[in-house]
Structures are given as structure tokens and as C-alpha cells.
Symmetry: C2
Subunit: 229 residues, 2 copies
């Protein structure tokens, strides 16, 4: 009975790792949709979100079942509660990839991202993808040091978002209102994907140590639409 219980706990962690990889692939495909006006990539992200939602439901049901029947304490209890929260993060990350794919699709056959901002968006996407990649390793290995290091990477995302707003608000901006709105939202979506990766990393710290990361390590405020803010 207890062996089955530990198998079930391990299977939940394995599913979280698989889901994180699926989200990583979705973010990458959404970025291809965006930067290569790739309609097939956009459709695959949008259709594929159902798999992430179903995996979330499965992990939730099994975690609740173990909470109800095994009455876990200490580390196992924290693991199951962390799992319930991490699947919520993963579902949101999948939704955000869908939002990116839908902006790409809406502007096709045109490019949603004007040339001036393609390097910035490519950097934001790479940063988000790298952070989700690291989250795979953090969750799989319960790596507290890597989890703490992830917060620093989030600063790179803030820097990129400020740089984007400088371009959008420059007097030389020649593309008008519609792409500026698309880009402000795209920047927000990539930033939120990174925030959720940090949030997952923080849950790993909690499940391993039993303590939430210190308050001063909390998520950075998002950058608003003023580069000077």
C-alpha cells in the first residue's frame, strides 16, 4: 500500500516535469508562429492547449485523492499542495502561449512584429524559454539552488521589457497604434510566462525547505509602459 503511494507521488512529479516540457515546446512554437508568421505552428499551439488542461485535471484529481486517502504530512503534504499550485501555473503558461499564437494568427499573412522589435521579442522569447527549461530541471531534481538563481534571470526579462517600451514610445516609431498594442501585450505575456516559472521555482524551494523564499525575494513588479518607471 505504501509502495503504491510512493509510486503515485513519483508519478505526479513525473507528470509535472512532462507538463513543463510540453509548455516549453508550446512557448517555442508560439514564438515561431509569431516571428515566422507560421500558421501551422500557431494552430498547433492553440489545439495543443487541451492536452495541458487535461494533464492539469489528471494531476489535480490524483493529488486530491492522495490527500484524502493517505493523509500525508510534512514533505509529502507540501509536495501535493505544491503540485496543485504548479499545475495551475503550468495551465496559465499554456494559456499565455495560446495568447501569443493568437496574436500571430490574427495578423497573418503579415508579421505581427515590426522589424525594429524582432530582436527584442526574440530575446524575450529566448529568456522565457530558457527559464522554463530550467524549471524542468528544478522540478525534476528539486534543485533549490537553481530555483533561487532563477529569480535573477527574471531581471533580464524586465530589462528587455523596458527596452521594448523605449522603442515603442520613441518619436521615430512609425508603425502606428495597432502593432504597439500587440507588442505591449506580447511583452506582458512573455513576462508572465517568466513570472510563472519563478513562481514554480519558489514552490520547489518551499516543498524542499518548508519555508517560503524571503519576502524581499518576491517577484519583481512588472514594468509598466514608461521606460523611466
Amino acid at each position: 500500500m505504501r509502495d503504491l503511494y510512493y509510486d503515485q507521488l513519483d508519478a505526479i512529479v513525473a507528470d509535472l516535469v512532462t507538463m513543463t516540457k510540453t509548455v516549453r515546446a508550446a512557448v517555442e512554437r508560439a514564438t515561431s508562429a509569431l516571428l515566422q508568421a507560421d500558421a501551422e505552428a500557431a494552430e498547433s499551439v492553440i489545439a495543443g492547449d487541451r492536452d495541458i488542461d487535461q494533464a492539469r485535471e489528471s494531476v489535480e484529481e490524483r493529488s486530491m485523492e492522495l490527500l484524502a486517502t493517505q493523509q500525508p504530512v510534512a514533505g509529502d503534504l507540501r509536495m501535493l499542495v505544491a503540485a496543485l499550485r504548479m499545475v495551475a501555473d503550468l495551465e496559465r503558461m499554456g494559456d499565455l502561449a495560446v495568447h501569443i499564437a493568437k496574436i500571430a494568427r490574427m495578423r497573418m499573412p503579415d508579421q505581427a512584429v515590426p522589424a525594429a522589435l524582432r530582436p527584442t521579442i526574440a530575446n524575450m522569447a529566448e529568456t522565457a524559454e530558457r527559464m522554463v527549461d530550467e524549471t524542468v530541471r528544478i522540478v525534476a531534481g528539486r534543485d533549490v539552488d537553481a530555483a533561487r538563481a532563477l529569480e535573477a534571470e527574471d531581471e533580464e526579462m524586465d530589462r528587455l521589457r523596458r527596452s521594448m517600451f523605449r522603442i515603442l514610445l520613441d518619436d521615430d516609431w512609425e508603425y502606428g497604434v495597432e502593432p504597439a498594442i500587440d507588442l505591449a501585450l506580447l511583452g506582458r505575456y512573455y513576462e508572465r510566462i517568466a513570472d510563472h516559472a519563478v513562481s514554480m521555482a519558489r514552490r520547489v524551494v518551499y516543498l524542499v525547505t518548508g519555508h517560503h523564499p524571503a519576502h524581499e525575494e518576491m517577484l519583481a513588479e512588472p514594468v509598466l509602459s514608461d521606460p523611466g518607471s
Copy 2:
């Protein structure tokens, strides 16, 4: 012992209700900051967010403590898991009110919202505030019917967001890129507050019935930056 346990469960529900009222007040003050360029209101929302964060920590700690020591099953287990999730929704709603207040503050003494969009933003704010108000009643009364009805109100928010994009993208838009970006983000923040209200309502349905609302009742997709989407 069991009496104390039920008192503790009741205290958690009472704190969720109080937090929801606090968030409701924060959204209202953030809207005053925005539509009346009220600096004091903006500062009070920004400073007050710490109270919401502290209340979240308190509810989380006590819920984990009860999960660990009382090994609740069935309805009580669902209640505690729902509480852990609802405080996460409430914390995000508080953060979103802060984002709104910060956009208002950044543009002061000017108005962030041009005249053409003040009625739309006022309507979005009223819709969000009304939905959070209803969430207070839904959580306090475990009102499944009201929870199910809340999803319909979310459609009003989508309608308002589409109407906003029509104005922003009209050829007559005369305010330039910066207010357009502010408004796209403000619309997103109010919409997300409404989404979290719906999410809390759905958690009440789950805690009362033991079932998640059907898939087709899931949160509506956000409206992207094309009024025709």
C-alpha cells in the same frame, strides 16, 4: 479539539471574505486614482497591498497547519485546498489593482485615460467591482447558483474590451501610442481581475459540489487586440 478545528475552518472562511472585501476596496480606489488622477488613492492602493499579502500568508499557514494536523477529508479537505487557491487569486487581484494605480500615478498630474475612453474604463471598473462584490457573497454564503451566474457577467467584460479596442484602433484615434498602450494594459488588468473573480466562484462550486464546473463553462478566452477576433 474538534470544536477548535471547526472554529479554525470558520476563521479561514471569514478571512477569505474579509480579503475579498479588501480587494474590492483596492480596485475601487485604483479606479479613483485612474479616473480622478487622485495621487492619494494611488498611494493607498500601492501601500495597502502589503496587508493583502500578509493575509494570504496567514491563511496559507493556517490551512497547511490544519491539513497537516487534522487530516481532513471530503468537504473540509476541499475547503482547505480551495482556500489555498482562493488566496492566490486574491493576491493576484491585489497586484492587478496595484498595476492600475501605478499607471495612474505614472501619468499624474495628467489623466492616463483620454476623454474618449473614460466611459468604457468606468464601465470595465464597475463590472470588475460588481463581480468582486458578488464574489464576497458567493464565498460567504457558498452560493453555487450565484457562482454559476458570475460567468455570464464576464461576457460583459469581454464586450467592453472589444469596444475599447474599436476606439483605440479607429482612424480617428488622436492620442498617440502611449495612451493606447496604457489602455490596452489597463483593459487587460480589469479583465484579469474579473477572471480571478470567476475563478474563485468556480472554486466555491467545486468545494460545495465536489465537481469542477463543466469544461464548456471554462473561462472565456481573452479578447485580443483585434475587435473582429
